[in-house]
Structure formats: structure tokens, C-alpha cells
């Protein structure tokens, strides 16, 4: 009996009372539980009331969902082919909640819808887990497989297994060097290093002398590659700066501190779109005149490009990577078509500046650029 062992635990000890003879209908500690449960119910009731009340209260005449709906355009559309429902699995090295991979998925889903394909997505930023996820896709006998080769050595065996099982494989994003050797049909994407090199060139073109490369996830191979690529082609000096990507205020204050510490910095390069806007804030707070540039795109970056607060963004068109991979698998199954002729198909880098911004806004808003 727990009641005997823990005499002071009022609820569960009292629970024992309920089984005891001759004690029903009398007020006891156990009722505390009922009372608390009632408090809980009341709290939830109050919560609902408050939510309803607040939604009835002040409406915003600007922005919000309604504005989006007003401007909405349906980009959907049903399937336009009569092939059977094939299944394509995509397994990436993305962590949870990454904007970039979100757009890749959106592209893949759009292609899947058009090609009557069932699209399944999974990801893990741990190499061995990613390999297990590929194995799981093989076990399900999918009709096509899309993988990223961020850590090629860990993926080698399992990709070979898929090829051996007769599953067509397309690699995307990273792994252009290994794709062919592993037996993939094509590689769609652009190496992080190439994107970095493009940034280095662009910085030179803009006459920058001292740049910092803001790494928001320490130890991420792709991020290191981006910075390394930029360093390679950039004629000025480039420092790396580590920030904690899960803590936006920390990102801001760290960039701020760096800019205050070294006034000669004239360019800040962020590796992910969400951090560009934060870098702009940091720059303003530090009263620095450095230019903020970024890898990747999102709605905020597109707006900032248009406003001129961000110099340029280098895009590798993630939507295209997802879309093309799925569509190419369909083409291969339908018509045995292969793209690229054994060479990687590049989706970037594309340098986007103020003049491109207006056209982009619409696409970034809906999450396809």
C-alpha cells in the first residue's frame, strides 16, 4: 500500500481511503482531487471564453489572413497524367523546422500532385538516422527515391542497396561529386561551396573589404562549406561568427557585439534567410554601415531586398530541387528519361538583388521561393 509508505502524499494516500470500509460519503482529502479537476475544467472554460472574446474583439483592417486571401491565387491544380499512383520517398539531412527544406518539400509536393505521385518525406540531421530512413523507404518498396548526400560516406551503402533493389535514385542539393559513383540517375542542385564562391565574387564586385560569415548552427557541414566557398573567392578578409540559431535575441546581440568590436566590417553574410533580418537589426543597433547579404530567400528577405536593407541574396532555388527530382523520377518511370548526361544539373547559384525583389515577393510569400 503506497498509503502506508508515503503518508503525506495527500492525493494517492487518500485514494486508498476510497477502498476502505465505512468511510463513504464523508468529506476527505481525496475530494481535493475532484476540486482541483474542477478548477482545471473551469480554467479551460475561462480559456475558451477568453479566446472567443479576443477573436470577437478588435479586428485588424490591415495585413493578416484576410489580406492574404484577398490577394490569393490558387497555385494548385489536379493531376494531369494517367500513370498509376507511384510512391516517391525523399530523405534529407535537414533538421526540424528548416525554411529551406520546407520550400524543397513544397516543390516536390507540387510535382507529385501533377504527376499523380504519392510523396513521402522524412529527414534527420544525424547521418546514421538518415541512412535508416532510406532503408525504411527501401523496405516499403517505393517507386523512386530522392536523397541528399550531405554525409556521403554514411549514405554510400544504403544508396547502393536501393539501386540494387531496382529503385531509381536521384540525389539533390549536396553530393554532386558522389552522385554518379553511387549509382544515382541524376543530381539536381548546387554544391554549398559553389554558392559560397558566388557570394565571394559578388562581395568583391561590390568592393567589400571585410566580411563576417554568420554560422547559426555550429558544426553543420553545409554551413562550413558555404563560408569556406565564400572565403575562397573573396579578396578581402572574412571572419566566421558563431551564433545560437535557436535563440534569435542571442543572434542579434552577438552580431551587434561583433560589429561594435570591429568597425572595419563592411559586410555581414548570414547563412539562412531568417537571420538576415536579424542581422539588419543588429547592424542598425550597432550604428554600423555594413551591408547585410544572405544565402537563401524568404518573404522577409524579399521585402528587405526591395527596401534596400539587404544587399543581395544568393538563391539555389530549393523549390526547383524538390520539383525536378520528383518530376524526373516520373519521367524515368514513364519514359526512361534521364537529365544531365551524367553531370550535375545546377539550380543555382543565382544572385538576387533589389531589381529582382518585386517579382519575387509573390513567390516568397506563398513559400515557393
Amino acid at each position: 500500500m503506497t498509503a502506508a509508505t508515503f503518508p503525506l502524499t495527500d492525493t494517492w494516500a487518500a485514494g486508498a481511503d476510497h477502498r476502505a470500509p465505512g468511510g463513504t460519503g464523508i468529506r476527505r482529502e481525496g475530494q481535493g482531487f475532484v476540486a482541483m479537476a474542477k478548477t482545471g475544467t473551469r480554467a479551460i472554460g475561462a480559456l475558451l471564453a477568453a479566446v472567443l472574446g479576443a477573436s470577437l474583439a478588435g479586428c485588424s483592417s490591415t495585413g493578416g489572413k484576410r489580406a492574404e486571401e484577398r490577394a490569393a491565387q490558387s497555385a494548385g491544380g489536379g493531376s494531369g497524367v494517367d500513370t498509376p499512383k507511384w510512391t516517391v520517398a525523399m530523405v534529407t539531412h535537414s533538421g526540424a523546422g528548416d525554411t529551406f527544406w520546407d520550400i524543397v518539400q513544397n516543390g516536390a509536393k507540387q510535382a507529385a500532385r501533377k504527376d499523380n505521385i504519392k510523396f513521402v518525406y522524412s529527414s534527420s540531421n544525424q547521418a546514421n538516422e538518415q541512412a535508416q530512413l532510406v532503408q525504411a523507404a527501401i523496405d516499403q518498396h517505393v517507386d523512386g527515391l530522392v536523397v541528399t548526400l550531405a554525409k556521403p560516406d554514411a549514405m554510400k551503402d544504403v544508396v547502393a542497396k536501393a539501386v540494387k533493389a531496382g529503385i531509381p535514385v536521384i540525389t539533390i542539393n549536396s553530393g554532386s561529386d558522389q552522385s554518379k559513383a553511387f549509382g544515382a540517375l541524376s543530381h539536381i542542385g548546387q554544391d554549398e561551396k559553389i554558392a559560397g564562391q558566388a557570394v565571394g565574387d559578388e562581395l568583391d564586385k561590390r568592393g567589400k573589404k571585410h566580411a563576417i560569415c554568420v554560422l547559426h548552427e555550429q558544426g553543420n557541414v553545409g554551413h562550413e562549406d558555404r563560408c569556406a566557398g565564400a572565403k575562397e573567392t573573396f579578396a578581402g578578409t572574412m571572419d566566421n561568427l558563431n551564433v545560437d540559431g535557436t535563440n534569435m535575441p542571442d543572434v542579434q546581440s552577438t552580431i551587434q557585439a561583433k560589429l561594435q568590436a570591429d568597425k572595419s566590417i563592411d559586410a555581414v553574410v548570414t547563412l539562412g534567410a531568417p537571420f538576415a533580418a536579424t542581422a539588419v537589426k543588429a547592424k542598425q543597433q550597432a550604428s554600423s554601415s555594413a551591408e547585410v547579404d544572405t544565402f537563401d530567400l524568404n518573404a522577409q528577405v524579399a521585402t528587405a531586398l526591395a527596401a534596400g536593407t539587404i544587399g543581395f541574396a544568393v538563391d539555389q532555388q530549393p523549390y526547383l530541387q524538390g520539383y525536378e527530382a520528383v518530376d524526373l523520377l516520373w519521367l524515368y518511370r514513364y519514359n526512361a528519361d534521364v537529365l544531365g548526361g551524367g553531370k550535375p544539373v545546377l539550380t543555382g547559384p543565382q544572385i538576387l538583388t533589389q531589381k529582382d525583389a518585386a517579382a519575387l515577393a509573390k513567390y516568397t510569400e506563398r513559400g515557393t521561393r
Binding site: A54, G58, D102
Partner: protein
């Protein structure tokens, strides 16, 4: 409240005969030095001074007013959460869900305003209610199940992490919320949660004011109210507290709701400062809050600590993390330096407290 009965001093008892007036004087004149020595935050203050001096020497740009503003801002974003986390630790419990709870709060506020096309203040209010409900959930579950708070809030942490991502993608279609910067009420809400004012060369974020206010209120509650007495009691001896009539469950639930309230403030700052919220943010920050509280003199086992200490802890953290940047050290070693500095500050803290106790 008068004694119902009076007791005569038992005859022939041992121990020194009370010194009457002289003894009373001793009570009144507790020396300032001794009172300071007894404070839990003493060690951390010495640690903070050491870190400050260190970076003043090691980093040229550390000692300028603008840098001071940056350091204070960094400290305040940790400090706002470190205050209730310290109270909770004094009350003998942990909360591992604090980091993601901040993000949840920001997400709720942003998505509600956007989806309902409501004035952003409506979203702010709904967010407050939802966040407090999460805090209540933590406290309620803890007091009803008697499971360790480590397990319960670990569960909440994982659930919230999933809910943040799941709901954001379900509602917004992407992993971040849409910008609400063009909506009504945004500007006034920004003034409250994310504005800054410039005094001379120093740029002060409004979070610093929130932080200072929270520390003051928490210190008042802790030292001068019944609730504060109960917080110390439930952390230092829950069974003894219950036996003398302290509402242990209510106190603990209240503490969890205080944590939620501050998570709401932090969350609104996140939203109004950056316009959009990334759903994956906040993971790992819970440890920073706990670290700040511990550096500030909170006992991991409960029953001892202070709100001011947590503020000093957050300040040490802010100085260290930004000081390394000002010193322009190789960023690859950043985390190592950070860990080493924190460990040193904590060791110094422990050493000072030991010395203080020995002389007290």
C-alpha cells in the same frame, strides 16, 4: 494574533540566562557586513566583477557605452526568464519547457492575430491565456501525479516542440509565421515589448526595463510576502510546510504560472522584435535560464536562492557570451570559452560563499 497561553520559564533550565536589554540590542544591530555575507547572491556578484574586469582588459571594445547596451540586452533576454526559473528552483522544482514555451507564446500570438486578421493586441491577450494555461498544466500535473518535475516538464518540452512545428506548418504552411508588421496594433505593442531608447551613447532595449521590474517584484515577493515565505518553505521542506498549513500545491502551481507569464513576455519580445517567428526556436535556452539561476546562488535542491542572484547570473552570462566576441577570439572555440568562463564564475561563487559561511 496573541498567545493564548503564556509559559513560565521552566525552572532550573540550562543554557545562558537571557541578557535582557543587551540581548535585544544584538538583534537590532546586525552589522551590514554580516547581513551581506548571508546573502545567496554574494558569490555571484564577486564573480560578475571578476568577469567584468577580465573582459575590460582582454577586449578593447568591451568598455564602451554602446557595448554595455548590447551586453545588457543579451543579459536581459536570459534574465527575464531566469527570474521565475530561480523562484521555481527555490520552490524545489525544475522546468525544462521554458525555452520552447517562449516560442510557443510568440507563435500563438502571431498566428492568432494573422489568421483571425485581428488587432495584434487580441493575439497578445490570447497568447497570455494560452501560455498561462501551459504553466498551469505543468504545475497541476506535477502536484497531482507527484512525478518529478524533470520528467513532467521534459514531456511538456517535447510536446511543445512538436506542437510548435506541427501547428505552424498546419496553419501557415511554412516553418515560420507570416509577418504581422503591417497589422493594426503592431506599433503600439512593439513599444511595450521591443522598443529601445537611446540615452547618450547607450542604447537601452525595453527588455532591460522588464527585466529590472521583474527582479524587483520577485525580490519583494520572495522576501516580504507570505507567498515568498511559502516558496522557500515548499522548496526547503515540502512535508514540513504542508504540516504547518502552507498550501503546497497552490504555491507550486503559482510558480509554474509565473514562469509562464515571463515566457509570455519573452515570447512577445521575440515576436515584436523580429516580426516573424521561427517555429524551431528556443530549444536549449531552458538550460541558460537554469544556469543563470544557479550561478546566482540558487541551490539545485531547492529552498535557497534569490531573484537578484539570477539577474547577476544572467549578467555574467551576457558579459561572457558577448565579451568573447568583443575579444575577437577564434569563434570555433566559442562554446569552450563560454563553458570555461561559466564554470570559473560558478566555482568562484561557491568559494566565496563557503568563505562567507565560515566567517558568519
Amino acid at each position: 494574533m496573541t498567545p493564548a497561553t503564556t509559559l513560565e520559564k521552566p525552572a532550573g533550565q540550562d543554557g545562558p540566562d537571557p541578557g535582557g536589554k543587551a540581548a535585544d540590542d544584538r538583534l537590532v544591530h546586525r552589522s551590514l557586513a554580516r547581513r551581506l555575507m548571508g546573502r545567496p547572491e554574494l558569490g555571484s556578484v564577486v564573480g560578475a566583477a571578476a568577469v567584468f574586469i577580465f573582459f575590460s582588459v582582454a577586449a578593447d571594445s568591451f568598455l564602451q557605452w554602446s557595448s554595455f547596451g548590447t551586453v545588457l540586452y543579451a543579459a536581459s533576454t536570459i534574465g527575464i526568464m531566469a527570474v521565475p526559473v530561480a523562484l521555481l528552483m527555490i520552490g524545489g522544482e525544475f522546468d525544462l519547457s521554458t525555452g520552447v514555451m517562449v516560442t510557443s507564446s510568440a507563435l500563438v500570438s502571431s498566428m492568432f492575430s494573422y489568421q483571425m486578421t485581428a488587432n495584434v493586441w487580441a493575439g497578445v491577450a490570447v497568447s497570455l491565456v494560452v501560455t498561462l494555461a501551459i504553466g498551469f498544466f505543468n504545475g497541476f500535473l506535477l502536484t497531482r501525479t507527484k512525478l518529478p518535475s524533470f520528467i513532467i516538464t521534459l514531456g511538456t518540452f517535447l510536446m511543445l516542440t512538436g506542437l510548435n512545428l506541427g501547428f505552424t506548418k498546419l496553419i501557415s504552411g511554412t516553418v515560420s509565421t507570416k509577418s504581422i508588421a503591417d497589422m493594426e496594433g503592431f506599433d503600439s505593442a512593439r513599444v511595450l515589448f521591443a522598443s529601445h531608447l537611446t540615452i547618450g551613447d547607450i542604447d537601452l532595449k525595453v527588455t532591460i526595463l522588464w527585466w529590472a521590474a521583474l527582479v524587483a517584484v520577485a525580490t519583494w515577493v520572495l522576501l516580504r510576502t507570505r507567498a515568498g515565505n511559502w516558496i522557500f518553505a515548499v522548496g526547503g521542506g515540502a512535508d514540513a510546510a504542508r504540516a504547518v498549513g502552507v498550501p503546497v500545491s497552490r504555491t507550486k502551481i503559482g510558480l509554474y504560472m509565473a514562469v509562464a507569464f515571463c515566457a509570455w513576455i519573452s515570447g512577445q519580445h521575440l515576436l515584436f522584435s523580429f516580426d516573424v517567428v521561427q517555429s524551431g526556436e528556443g530549444v536549449g535556452n531552458e538550460f541558460l535560464y537554469i544556469i543563470a539561476a544557479v550561478i546566482g546562488g540558487c541551490l539545485m535542491t531547492g529552498g535557497y536562492g534569490s531573484a537578484i542572484g539570477s539577474a547577476v547570473g544572467a549578467f555574467i552570462f551576457g558579459m561572457t557570451s558577448k565579451g568573447i566576441v568583443y575579444a575577437q577570439w577564434n569563434p570555433d572555440w566559442f562554446k569552450f570559452f563560454l563553458g570555461a568562463m561559466l564554470l570559473l564564475a560558478t566555482l568562484l561563487n561557491a568559494w566565496v560563499r563557503k568563505r562567507a559561511e565560515a566567517t558568519a
